[in-house]
Symmetry: D2
Subunit: 219 residues, 4 copies
Amino acid sequence: MKTPIIITNFKTYSSSLGKKAIELAKVHEKVSRETGVSFAVAVNACDISAVSREVSIPVFAQHIDPAGLGGFTGQMPPEAVQSAGAVGTLLNHSESRLRLDILEQAVILAKKNSLKICICANTPESGQAVSAFAPDFVAVEPPELIGGDISVTSADPEIITKSVEKITESQVLVGAGIKNGADVKKAIELGAAGVLLASGVTKAENPEEVLRDLASGVS
Amino acid sequence: MKTPIIITNFKTYSSSLGKKAIELAKVHEKVSRETGVSFAVAVNACDISAVSREVSIPVFAQHIDPAGLGGFTGQMPPEAVQSAGAVGTLLNHSESRLRLDILEQAVILAKKNSLKICICANTPESGQAVSAFAPDFVAVEPPELIGGDISVTSADPEIITKSVEKITESQVLVGAGIKNGADVKKAIELGAAGVLLASGVTKAENPEEVLRDLASGVS
Amino acid sequence: MKTPIIITNFKTYSSSLGKKAIELAKVHEKVSRETGVSFAVAVNACDISAVSREVSIPVFAQHIDPAGLGGFTGQMPPEAVQSAGAVGTLLNHSESRLRLDILEQAVILAKKNSLKICICANTPESGQAVSAFAPDFVAVEPPELIGGDISVTSADPEIITKSVEKITESQVLVGAGIKNGADVKKAIELGAAGVLLASGVTKAENPEEVLRDLASGVS
Amino acid sequence: MKTPIIITNFKTYSSSLGKKAIELAKVHEKVSRETGVSFAVAVNACDISAVSREVSIPVFAQHIDPAGLGGFTGQMPPEAVQSAGAVGTLLNHSESRLRLDILEQAVILAKKNSLKICICANTPESGQAVSAFAPDFVAVEPPELIGGDISVTSADPEIITKSVEKITESQVLVGAGIKNGADVKKAIELGAAGVLLASGVTKAENPEEVLRDLASGVS
């Protein structure tokens, strides 16, 4: 997966769920194609198959469970998201935190199924912790800044430098409050391999404009 | 939803996930149409949209979270399964147990979104407990019999009579080990409004044959 | 256990933990003896043995786990709280919510060990739900009022009448914002068998005065 | 805390709960005094105060929650175990696994309260993960060997060498199936700072004999 990368977490916003998820993913694909910048989208499980059919940029699940093929009602095994078209998954997002042993097991199963893995963590220390499982990406996001107006790159750039220093075996993404190209630029300058963001795109009046601006931060 | 009803829980068996989910759902639809018996299927979240497009029998989710439209990464709000085509959901299956307060909240949100609700419980007592939230169905399934060879109707028919007696505001389904028409017949005779089953169908060499046999139990 | 009863939940306030727990329990015992009103205290697990040794009013645990004698590290089996001197336990408090099946199992084990059981619930409906397990008490406490200044008896008396109506097999306690004798009186008039409270006593400047006032509500 | 150290986890065995916990802790103290080997005991929360009063070897809690002084019903804040006499705590034992963010928060609070911390992990990788939080000890215990007859030192010595290699900021303890002095000796030779064990002592017919044997492994 080419880096720097910009991953948009669609969460379950009305503007990025169901049919809207397909539309918004297409805008990502368009901007990616036109700017040459690497974008990925993380969509609700219900939307993975439809979105994957419609776009060629990487589609991530937002979560998987340490489950497999068999008796797992209401669980999300890597096989399910993969057969639906996902090429990767977020794990341990602040809105879906996992027990440490469950997280380790989920990573093992995701790797067996060749899914790219992005584990979220709320501090550089917990980012370092999860990097022990050697995921492709560790996304460090201070929860108090998620969904807010101040970017982590402005509010606390040391979080990024500390994360980059501590996390040596995975690529570091940063998130929380990321909204524009300047934020992306700053994150990359400080050593990040990209950003993970959500409301900055999903709640934008003009997502295409925002995505182009974000892309401009990747020189 | 017409009763007696036979709900097949597809879980995440290789025989009932992805494309196989669509095929198996079609077999259910065929048997339902030909026998006039009411069938529904509960599929993995990734499969809801594709299965819903392909069949006209009711499609259930296997689980929802007490989430809504907004910042809910990796969560499954009723809006998501409904916009994907589900008309109902299982809740609190033994493979996805919920905290009591979370269950109550999920039921409230499911109702707001007009989803049919089938709450699972492992004993008549916990079945009675969840019936306080007035779901459409309460499915009582002794976990020790789930996936096994002995049907709850044979192993412990008193579980059914006790459930029917205690659960007065919802319709009672029974499950665990249900495999054939005789099991269905017995369940209905004891007062159940139908059955919830999984491996008896999903692991069958000839699911259509099994479904016809199950349907024969509904006189 | 004589009713009406006033149960004080000591939580982990600095004024009701460790040595302070013993002192505060003694004040309860004194007021109980002098007024003839039934009081009980629910203390942190670390304090059960010391408090039980020092007072003769009923001492409750604040929580137990569905564990037993054996390999249960960090779990709280009924045997442990009982051998430490507790005669009962709270369960499913809003600060220690349980999965429904875990709650059922905990109740079964508590009964086997002859512990009095008070299950907390946040609505009349969930109160009705847990009453299916036939605990001695169901304490209905709207979480939004817990720790607040407005008593449930003033803010929403219908919660009490509805709870009393729906919960027929257990005695109903009410809680959240209870602070004085008038609140207790109102609760009893509406059909409750007592109250469960915390900060009204633990944060009081003069707990003895507050306890006497509460007792005055029991005519 | 002097190392090598032998920590006995009392769990909730009938032989190490309540009064039996005090007796067994005294045997540990006796053997520690007579052999000069460092021992500690991790006891059920209900027993911390009584055991701490009776012995002078270090007493650990088996678990704490990320709670503090205040509204935490049924939770175990570090302040509670400390005021009861504990000088340290186990965390994330396989019988009390924690969410990663909860674990981090519990460690931060434990440190603020000057508790020694021993985090358990089931693999060298998860051991490395938790060492990011810089606890005093990381105890690596393969869950499949816990409570069994084969020691981790015999069954899979590479787990120890790998753990010692990966965990550089905390001291490494090993556990699962440890029963005698030879197991302790092997663990130390492979780089561990001690062992964490339970049933080998708590279920022994003659615990004193076993403890002396274990001590003999520390040369």
